[in-house]
């Protein structure tokens, strides 16, 4: 596998939503790393896109936007919170896109393909 672009998935679960599996299947060209916290984030190669699927998305975003490595990295946050304020808070903290967590694998596959494509475009623009 040639690693063209890197997606970093931060999740505190066991890929309950199936996003990691979907990313590997739908975006085979992308190098997908999975971590659980900021310490692990710092030990991985700098990604082109970060995907947050964690209850601590707000805390991580707050930290990322002050960290030199992650200050400008595009962030896609997955949320299953219906609370408008919670989602808006993620945008205020610097999320580029918030997505409601898809419930079915087909929709998750579509989202994963979109994330992989987006990471590839971010990488191409950075070259």
């Amino acid at each position: 596998m040639t690693e063209n672009h890197r997606v970093l998935l931060v999740t505190d679960g066991d890929d309950d939503a199936g996003l990691h599996r979907a990313l590997v299947q739908a975006a085979p060209d992308a190098g997908v790393a999975v971590v659980k916290n900021r310490e692990e984030m710092l030990r991985t190669p700098e990604p082109h896109v970060v995907v947050l699927d964690t209850d601590y998305a707000a805390d991580l975003l707050r930290w990322m936007r002050t960290h030199p490595t992650y200050r400008k990295t595009p962030v896609i946050a997955l949320t299953d919170s219906p609370a408008r304020a919670a989602v808006e808070h993620l945008y205020e903290l610097g999320a580029n896109t918030c997505l409601r967590k898809p419930l079915d694998p087909i929709a998750m596959g579509g989202i994963a393909a979109g994330i992989g494509t987006y990471a590839g475009l971010v990488r191409a623009a950075a070259r």
């Binding site: 918030c98 989202i111 494509t117």
Partner: protein
């Protein structure tokens, strides 16, 4: 225009706060949509308040006449009132910012002058004072004025239609500039009724991004921003591209502009 957008314009919810972004050089879509919003209001028995520039007031009146509405009768009976936007604005601007008490007095007085055709019917207002402030680059004053309108909307049952002259394909149409506008409205009304903007965006994305365009569209469609006005797909694509692919967005939106004008010429 899809039937969903038809309903938004024809039968806006009480306290609905609509906004249209239009091209200053081509105001036909604004005149058509606002004319329709007003004509449907008159048919529903609503009172109508229009606060616009002199040229727009005249154009809306002509559009109402052409729709078959008895505009002269509506004006005579006090169901329809036109006010000059600059003059109204001058009544409540203090030091470059709108003053709530003066706004409430000026706009409240204008609203009280409008009688309803039918007892129990609602009221529809169109206002472009915010657009005037925006054009003068008084962005925070424009958003403050939108918040004042929302305060009035929360107290009574009328709907409001606003308009801003902004180039959808230009750099000004981006999240950092428009967040305040989108957060203070319920619906961003599509400028055109024919889906040409979305078609132009899709064609331009496919030209620049190739087969990647379809995967990206899924991501754009899933973007979730609950505080923003509901918006048509074409405008949503333009905003997402500006915010998330700044390096490619100029090329895509430049091509989209060409396709859009070509499609409009064919329509």
């Amino acid at each position: 225009m899809s039937s969903a957008w038809d309903k938004v314009i024809d039968r806006p919810a009480a306290q609905g706060h609509l906004v249209q972004i239009y091209d200053e050089g081509n105001e036909r879509s604004l005149v058509r949509n606002v004319g329709r919003y007003l004509a449907e209001g008159l048919r529903a028995g609503d009172g109508l308040l229009v606060i616009a520039g002199a040229e727009h007031n005249e154009a809306f009146r002509r559009e109402l006449d052409e729709s078959g509405a008895d505009t002269a009768c509506a004006i005579r009976e006090g169901w329809l009132k036109f006010f000059d936007a600059q003059e109204t604005l001058a009544k409540f601007m203090v030091g470059g910012n709108p003053d709530w008490r003066r706004f409430e007095a000026a706009v409240g007085a204008a609203m009280r002058q409008v009688r309803k055709v039918d007892a129990g019917a609602g009221m529809r207002a169109y206002g472009e004072m915010v657009g005037i402030l925006w054009k003068a680059r008084q962005f925070s004053a424009a958003i403050r004025l939108e918040q004042f309108w929302n305060k009035l909307l929360s107290r009574s049952t009328f709907s409001l239609y606003c308009a801003y002259s902004i180039d959808v394909f230009g750099k000004e149409f981006q999240v950092s500039a428009l967040d305040g506008v989108l957060c203070t409205h319920t619906h961003l009304v599509p400028a055109e009724t024919n889906g040409n903007l979305e078609a132009a965006m899709n064609r331009a994305m496919e030209q620049v991004l190739g087969e990647k365009a379809s995967a990206l569209r899924v991501l754009i469609k899933a973007n979730y921003r609950p505080s923003w006005a509901l918006m048509p797909t074409g405008e949503a694509i333009a905003l997402w591209l500006r915010n998330n692919l700044p390096n490619q967005s100029d090329e895509i939106l430049g091509l989209a502009r060409q396709h859009y004008h070509a499609l409009q010429a064919q329509s």
